[in-house]
Symmetry: C2
Subunit: 138 residues, 2 copies
DNA sequence: GATAATGCATCAATATCAGATACATTAAAC
DNA sequence: GTTTAATGTATCTGATATTGATGCATTATC
């Protein structure tokens, strides 16, 4: 299967940006996102930790965006939603000492995959949540 | 689980580059890569299709690299090994017509994810297989 | 014709992800 | 203070993806 947390988190952030003047709850978000409240709360708690959204417990509580959409980049959402998980995985196998490639592949791959992460983040940093909101028809 | 085809393919390519003067077979590759011959053959057939390696059937057959390592970029390997599968997945859910975000999220995400693919590929295009081989100790 | 290789289809084992359930914690409303 | 309604979190389950395993067709060399 495939990890959809970033994509879902983007939709959560856009929905919160659209309703920035009210508190939404995880049930309501789950309905418009066609998913379940637990999954929403898990993702939201990551976004809270990153200070992109605020959540309030108790009766009358809910979730709202914590910064101006122009101040939130897709990089922020990406970092918050993936929890350091890499885009591409390394295969972790025992080293065959007789094989020079087997001996160095771990370092080689780490460098490649770190490079991919870096270029992805710098690309995502160029787009703000506000840029996305321009595409929402009113 | 997570897709390791790119990482494994990189190791295959490096191993073939290291032994560029001989034919290796899928059993041998499976041994040094600590995986199984079927998986190797599946990945190799993708690399053959991309003309990065050549394979020869029949007795005495095997696999060898088809281009100079300096002419092969990581982008080539990436494209060959992932078969158009995206790094990040979209969640595909029914559209809620009453929600403006739900209505546009598909287009918004496609654009974001395409951007990530593009920046990843352009970053990978800058490194050649030869660059990787410099890190192999002799 | 025997042998040894890739190519490919299919099935099994395993890992991951999202959905479901339950419950603790918290805070507002009454 | 009790009730109510929200998040936070742990755990289990089901669905799905990925890799490993097996078998066999195809192919080419000896």
């Amino acid at each position: 299967m495939v990890d959809t947390r970033f994509s879902v988190s983007v939709q959560i952030m856009m929905t919160l940006a659209f309703h920035s003047d009210e508190l939404l709850n995880s049930d309501g978000l789950a309905k418009v996102l066609k998913t379940n409240p637990t999954f929403i709360r898990k993702l939201v708690s990551n976004l809270v930790e990153a200070r992109l959204v605020e959540s309030f417990r108790g009766k009358g509580g809910g979730i709202k965006i914590a910064q101006a959409p122009s101040d939130i980049t897709l990089k922020d959402i990406y970092i918050a939603s993936t929890e350091e998980k890499k885009l591409i995985s390394r295969h972790k196998k025992p080293v065959i000492k007789a094989c020079p490639i087997s001996c160095c592949i771990e370092n080689v791959l780490d460098e490649i995959l770190d490079g991919i992460e870096a270029s992805t983040k710098s690309s995502l940093a160029k787009k703000s949540l506000q840029d996305l909101m321009k595409k929402v028809s009113k």
